[in-house]
C-alpha cells in the first residue's frame, strides 16, 4: 500500500507540477494522499461490486438451486465450549446460575452429547468436523509414537523445515516454505457445505492446523505451535533463588539487578539461516520504578508494567542471520518488582498480523482479525496451564489469562456472526476446558491438591467460567433471533476429577509385558525400555500399543493370533485392576481398537483404549513415555480435573434452539445434521447420522 501511495503521489506530482507547491512534507503528504487514495479505492471497488454482485448472485443461485431449495435454514451457528460438562451444567441450571442456557433449553432442548473413545479434544473435535469415527480420521490421542524411535510426538501435525535448502558455508538458505502437514484425515463437513455453495466461518476449532482450503474462512485452533514450534514454552525471570528445579512447559532464568535495571533475553526459535542449531535471542531491559511498577524496553519500544497486570500483546522481533527477522508476540506479567524481581512472559505466539506459519485460511484472515480487533493469542493452547502447574503464576492470574483469551475469541466470533449472511459459523471457546482442568480441586474435597499449597479462590473459578459462557451465549442469542437460524451449543466432552495418575507402563512391567534396560527407569520417551523383551507399552493419555512386528521398529508380537490373544488378555487383566492404595477399581472399561473403530487408519490406533474410572487418568509420566517405580501416583498439580477417562463418565452438552428428538445424540452427528439442515446430502462415508431436529420438515427457505 505504501508503495502504491508513493506511485500515486509521484504520478500526481508528475502530472501536475503546480500542485506540488501545496506539498507539506512526506508524512502529511502520505496521510493526505492516502486519505484520497482510500476514498478513491472505496468508490471504485463499491462500483465494481455493485455491478458484479447481481451477476455472481444469479450464477450461484442457478448453480446451487437444488441445495438452496432443500435448505431449511439460512444460518447455522455452532458455539463450542470445550469440555463443558453435562452434570455440572445441569447442576448450575438447577441453581438458576445459567439464565441464558435455561432460556435456550426452553426454546429447544438440552441433552447430553456422547463424545468419542477416547473423549479427548483432538479426537472428539476431529470426529465433530469430519462426522466419522477415529478409524477414519486418524486422531486417537494428543500424542502418538514415532514408529522408528517409540518417542511420543504430536498426533495431529507434522512440522518440518523446508524440503530444500541452499548451502553456503555456515548458512543454509531455505528454498521454499516449511513442510507443515495436518495428519487428521477425512473431510470436514464445512468443506462439503462449501462444495454446495454454503459459506462457513470456522474459528479455533481444534485440529485445524495447518488450515485446509474450502469456501469460507478459518482460524486454526488447538495444536497451532508457538514461535519455537512447541505447544507453548513460558519464560520466567527472577532475581530470587527459586529458579532451580525441573520446570515442565517453561524455562526459568535467573537474572541480576544492577541498580534499577535488569537485562535479560527472550528465547526464540532456531536461526533458520544457520546450519548449526543456534537459538535466536531478543534482548530486553527492565527499569524498576518502585515496588509495584517497572518499565519494559524491548525492540526500541517501551511499555509500563504494573504488578499483577498483563501487558497488551507486545510484538517481538528476533533478528536472524543474513538480515532475516522472525516476528512473534507475547504478554508480560510483572509478578513482583521487589524484594525479588519476578517476571512471567507468555509463550511467544505467532504474530497474527504477520504470521510466519499458515494459521488461517485464507492467510490474510488472521491479519484481518488482527487489524479489526488488535493482536490476539494464536497458540493452540493459549491458556498457560503449565505456568500455573509450576506455580509461576497464581490462580487469579491464570484465570485472567483464560478470560482475556475468551474476550479475544468473543470479538472474532461476533465479527463473524455479523458478517455471515447465509452459511455456517463455528467458534470454539477453550476457557471452560482450561479452567476445569486447573480448578477441579476446588470442587473435589478428596482431591490430593485440595489441601495442598494452592490457595482457594474467593469465587469458584469453574462457576465463573460457566457464567462467562452463559454471558457469551446471551450475546449470541441476541444475534440469532432470526427464525431461520439454527443455534447449537456443544461441548466435546465433560469433566471429572483427576485425583490419581496411573503409570500404565509400570503396571505392564509389573505384569510382565514390559521390561526396562539397566538404569532404564525414569528415562523419558520410552528410552529406558528393553524392546526385545517388551510386548506392550503405553504412551499418550489413553492408549496401550502392542509391540507388533512389522508395525513398530523393534516389534516382537505377531500381528495374527498372538496379537488378538494379547489384546484380550491385557483387557481382562486391566479391567480387574484395583487401586492398591484406595481399594477402588481403576478402569471402567478397556476398548479394543480393532472392534470399536472402522476405517483405513484403525491399524495406527493404540491397540487398547483405557476407559478409566472417575478420579483416575494416565499418569503424567506415562504420557511422555517415562516408567516410574509405582503404578498409582497422587496428582498434586493444579491440573486437577480431566476427561481422559471412560466416555460414559464425561458426556458433553448439546443445547439447541430447536427441539432435537434423538435420545442419545453423538458429537459426530452434528456435522451430518447441519448438512441435512442446509439441504446438502450427507456423504455416505460419514458415520454420524442426521439428528431429528424440529423444523427439518418445514418449508424450504428460499
Amino acid at each position: 500500500m505504501k508503495y502504491l501511495l508513493v506511485a500515486l503521489a509521484v504520478l500526481l506530482s508528475a502530472l501536475l507540477p503546480g500542485s506540488a507547491s501545496a506539498y507539506i512534507g512526506p508524512g502529511a503528504g502520505f496521510a493526505v494522499g492516502g486519505s484520497f487514495l482510500v476514498l478513491f479505492t472505496a468508490l471504485v471497488s463499491a462500483l465494481i461490486i455493485l455491478v458484479t454482485w447481481p451477476i455472481r448472485t444469479i450464477v450461484r443461485s442457478i448453480r446451487f438451486r437444488k441445495v438452496y431449495a432443500r435448505s431449511r435454514i439460512r444460518k447455522a451457528i455452532v458455539l463450542g465450549f470445550d469440555g463443558m460438562d453435562y452434570t455440572l451444567t445441569t447442576q448450575l441450571l438447577d441453581e438458576g446460575k445459567l439464565p441464558n442456557f435455561a432460556k435456550l433449553q426452553e426454546q429447544g432442548c438440552f441433552k447430553p452429547l456422547l463424545s468419542t473413545i477416547p473423549p479427548i479434544s483432538p479426537v472428539a473435535w476431529s470426529s465433530f468436523q469430519t462426522g466419522v469415527n477415529p478409524g477414519k480420521h486418524n486422531i486417537f490421542d494428543f500424542l502418538t509414537r514415532d514408529r522408528k524411535t517409540y518417542a511420543p510426538k504430536l498426533s495431529s501435525t507434522d512440522i518440518k523445515g523446508p524440503l530444500r535448502t541452499l548451502s553456503l558455508g555456515r548458512y543454509q538458505i531455505p528454498l521454499g516454505r516449511g513442510d507443515i502437514r495436518l495428519l487428521r484425515k477425512g473431510v470436514p463437513f464445512w468443506k462439503t457445505l462449501g462444495e454446495h455453495g454454503i459459506f462457513s466461518n470456522i474459528i479455533r476449532v481444534p485440529i485445524t492446523f495447518p488450515p485446509e482450503q474450502f469456501y469460507g474462512l478459518q482460524l486454526a485452533g488447538m495444536c497451532v505451535p508457538d514461535l519455537r514450534g512447541s505447544q507453548g514454552i513460558f519464560s520466567f525471570y527472577t532475581t530470587g533463588t527459586d529458579g532451580n528445579g525441573d520446570n515442565t512447559g517453561g524455562e526459568v532464568y535467573q537474572v541480576n539487578r544492577t541498580g534499577n535495571h535488569i537485562k535479560a533475553e527472550l528465547s526464540g526459535p532456531h536461526d533458520p539461516m544457520l546450519k548449526a542449531r543456534v537459538g535466536l535471542k531478543c534482548p530486553f531491559e527492565i527499569t524498576i520504578q518502585d515496588a509495584t511498577s517497572a518499565v519494559l524496553h524491548l525492540n526500541g519500544a517501551t511499555c509500563a508494567l504494573t504488578t499483577g497486570q498483563y501487558s497488551d500483546w507486545i510484538p517481538v522481533t528476533f533478528k536472524a542471520s543474513l538480515g532475516m527477522k522472525v516476528r512473534g508476540i507475547c504478554r508480560f506479567l510483572l509478578i513482583a518488582a521487589e524484594p525479588d524481581f519476578k517476571l512471567y512472559v507468555t509463550p511467544i505466539n505467532i504474530d497474527p498480523d504477520k504470521p510466519v506459519m499458515p494459521i488461517s485460511h485464507p492467510q490474510v484472515y488472521a491479519t484481518y482479525l488482527a487489524k479489526r480487533q488488535g493482536r490476539y493469542a494464536t497458540l493452540g493452547l493459549a491458556e498457560d496451564s503449565w505456568a500455573l502447574n509450576e506455580q509461576r503464576i497464581s490462580d487469579d492470574q491464570f484465570m485472567e489469562q483464560c478470560l482475556q483469551t475468551d474476550r479475544e475469541r468473543v470479538s472474532m466470533f461476533f465479527d463473524a456472526l455479523d458478517n455471515i449472511g447465509r452459511g455456517l459459523c463455528v467458534c470454539v471457546f477453550d476457557g471452560t476446558d482450561r479452567v476445569q482442568h486447573s480448578f477441579w480441586r476446588q470442587l473435589d474435597p478428596e482431591h490430593p491438591a485440595h489441601r495442598g499449597s494452592y490457595q482457594q479462590a474467593a469465587e469458584p473459578a469453574i462457576e465463573k467460567i460457566y457464567r462467562n459462557a452463559d454471558k457469551i451465549l446471551g450475546e449470541t442469542m441476541k444475534k440469532c433471533r432470526d427464525r431461520n437460524t439454527l443455534l447449537m451449543v456443544i461441548s466435546d466432552h465433560g469433566f471429572n476429577s483427576f485425583r490419581y495418575g496411573i503409570d500404565l507402563n509400570r503396571w505392564l512391567e509389573e505384569n510382565g509385558y514390559l521390561s526396562l534396560t539397566e538404569n532404564g527407569r525414569g528415562k523419558k520417551n520410552l528410552a529406558g525400555v528393553d524392546w526385545s523383551k517388551t510386548r506392550a507399552f503405553a504412551i499418550g493419555l489413553s492408549g496401550i500399543y502392542l509391540n507388533l512386528k512389522g508395525r513398530e521398529a523393534q516389534g516382537m508380537v505377531d500381528s495374527g493370533a498372538e496379537a488378538v490373544q494379547l489384546r484380550e488378555e491385557l483387557a481382562e487383566k486391566l479391567q480387574g485392576f484395583i487401586d492398591p492404595l484406595h481399594g477402588k477399581p481403576v478402569i471402567k472399561r478397556v476398548y479394543n481398537a480393532m472392534k470399536i473403530y472402522q476405517g483405513p487408519y484403525k491399524q495406527d490406533a493404540p491397540d487398547l483404549l483405557i476407559g478409566y474410572n472417575a478420579g483416575y487418568r494416565a499418569a503424567w509420566e506415562t504420557a511422555i513415555g517415562e516408567v516410574t517405580g509405582q503404578v498409582v501416583h497422587d496428582n498434586v498439580k493444579a491440573w486437577s480435573g480431566d476427561h481422559c477417562i471412560d466416555q460414559s463418565l464425561v458426556p458433553g452438552i448439546l443445547f439447541s434452539n430447536r427441539m432435537i428428538h434423538d435420545e442419545h445424540p453423538r458429537l459426530m452427528d452434528i456435522g451430518p445434521t447441519i448438512l441435512e439442515m442446509f439441504g446438502v446430502p450427507v456423504p455416505s462415508h460419514m458415520d454420524g447420522k442426521s439428528l431429528q431436529v424440529d423444523g427439518s420438515g418445514q418449508k424450504a427457505i428460499s
Binding site: 507539506i24 512534507g25 512526506p26 508524512g27 502529511a28 486519505s35 482510500v38 458478517n419
Partner: protein, 282 residues
C-alpha cells in the same frame, strides 16, 4: 513595516543566513545532484516532525481499520451487506485520515514554507546570462494619486538599460528592459522621487540565489521571496520584480524542482520508515 511583516523579515533574515551557508554547496554541484541530496536529507526530519506532531495512536487505529475494511471486502465478497458496510467504513476512515493529518500539516507548513522559499531562490529561476535576451524589470508603485513620482533606474554596473521606462497606468507599473553586461551579484538602483531603492540582480552561468522579487507588504510575497528586505508600506514602491528566465530541467528546473523534491523526500521517508516507526498511511 507591520509587526507581521517585520517578524517575517527577521525570520527570513535568519533563514537566509543559515541556508546561505547550508545551501552554498549547491553552486558547486550539478543541479540534479544537489536537489536530490537536499530532498533526501530533508525528507527525514520532516517525517520525524510528522511523527511527533500527529496522533500516531489514532492514525494507527484508522489505518488498521482501513486495512481491515479492505480485507473484509475481499473475505466476505459474496455478502453485499458486509461489502457496503466496509465501503462506508472506508470512506469514514478516509475522512478521519485527512482530519488527523491537518494538525501536522498546519505545524509543518511554517518550517516547510521557509525551506521551500530558500530552495526556490536556487532552483525556481536561473540567473541572467551574458548574451541573454533583455529581461523585463517591473516596478509596482504604491500610490493612489494620479500624479506619479519621478522614477529612474541605474542598472550599472551589471546591466544596461535597453528600453524604458514604460509606464502602464492601469497597473501602476513602470517597466524597463535590461541587458546583462557583467557576471556577478549586482544591485539595480531606483531613484523614486527623493528616495533611493535597490533590487538585487543575479548574472552568471551556474547556480546562484536568484531573488525574482523584492516584496512589499504582502505576507505571502514576503515568505516566498525571502532574500531581500520588504519595502516599507509607507514608501512609494509596492514591489520590484525581474523576469528571470525559466530553468529548463525536469529535475531541477522551474516548478519541476518541487515535483522532484516531493518524490525524493517521500522515497527517503519511505526508506527510513522502518527505523522511524512512523504511521502515516495504509
Amino acid at each position: 513595516m507591520s509587526g507581521l511583516i517585520y517578524f517575517l523579515f527577521i525570520v527570513n533574515s535568519a533563514a537566509n543566513t543559515v541556508c546561505g551557508l547550508v545551501f552554498a554547496p549547491i553552486a558547486m554541484f550539478p543541479g540534479w545532484l544537489s536537489i536530490t541530496i537536499i530532498s533526501a536529507v530533508l525528507g527525514i526530519p520532516l517525517f520525524i516532525i510528522f511523527k511527533y506532531t500527529s496522533n500516531q495512536r489514532a492514525l494507527t487505529r484508522t489505518i488498521d481499520d482501513i486495512k481491515a475494511s479492505l480485507l473484509a471486502v475481499r473475505l466476505y465478497r459474496d455478502n453485499i451487506a458486509v461489502t457496503m458496510k466496509s465501503e462506508a467504513r472506508l470512506m469514514l476512515c478516509s475522512v478521519k485520515l485527512f482530519v488527523f493529518s491537518l494538525i501536522p500539516v498546519l505545524i509543518m507548513s511554517i518550517p516547510l514554507s521557509l525551506i521551500l522559499a530558500q530552495m526556490g531562490l536556487w532552483y525556481q529561476a536561473r540567473p541572467l546570462q551574458l548574451g541573454d535576451a533583455p529581461a523585463v524589470v517591473k516596478l509596482q508603485l504604491n500610490t493612489a494619486s494620479p500624479k506619479w513620482p519621478d522614477v529612474t533606474l541605474d542598472a550599472r554596473p551589471g546591466a544596461r538599460i535597453v528600453a524604458g521606462p514604460i509606464r502602464i497606468v492601469s497597473r501602476k507599473e513602470i517597466c524597463w528592459t535590461i541587458q546583462p553586461v557583467q557576471e556577478g551579484n549586482h544591485l539595480l538602483t531606483f531613484h523614486v522621487g527623493d528616495q533611493q531603492i535597490v533590487k538585487q540582480l543575479a548574472i552568471g552561468t551556474g547556480f546562484m540565489r536568484v531573488s525574482a522579487k523584492r516584496p512589499g507588504t504582502d505576507a505571502a510575497d514576503v515568505i516566498m521571496h525571502p532574500l531581500e528586505q520588504p519595502l516599507s508600506a509607507a514608501g512609494p514602491v509596492a514591489s520590484i520584480s525581474i523576469a528571470y528566465p525559466a530553468r529548463h530541467s525536469f529535475i531541477c528546473g522551474t516548478d519541476w524542482w518541487l515535483v522532484w523534491f516531493c518524490i525524493i523526500s517521500m522515497i527517503s521517508a519511505l526508506l527510513t520508515s522502518p527505523f522511524i516507526k512512523n504511521r502515516f498511511s495504509a
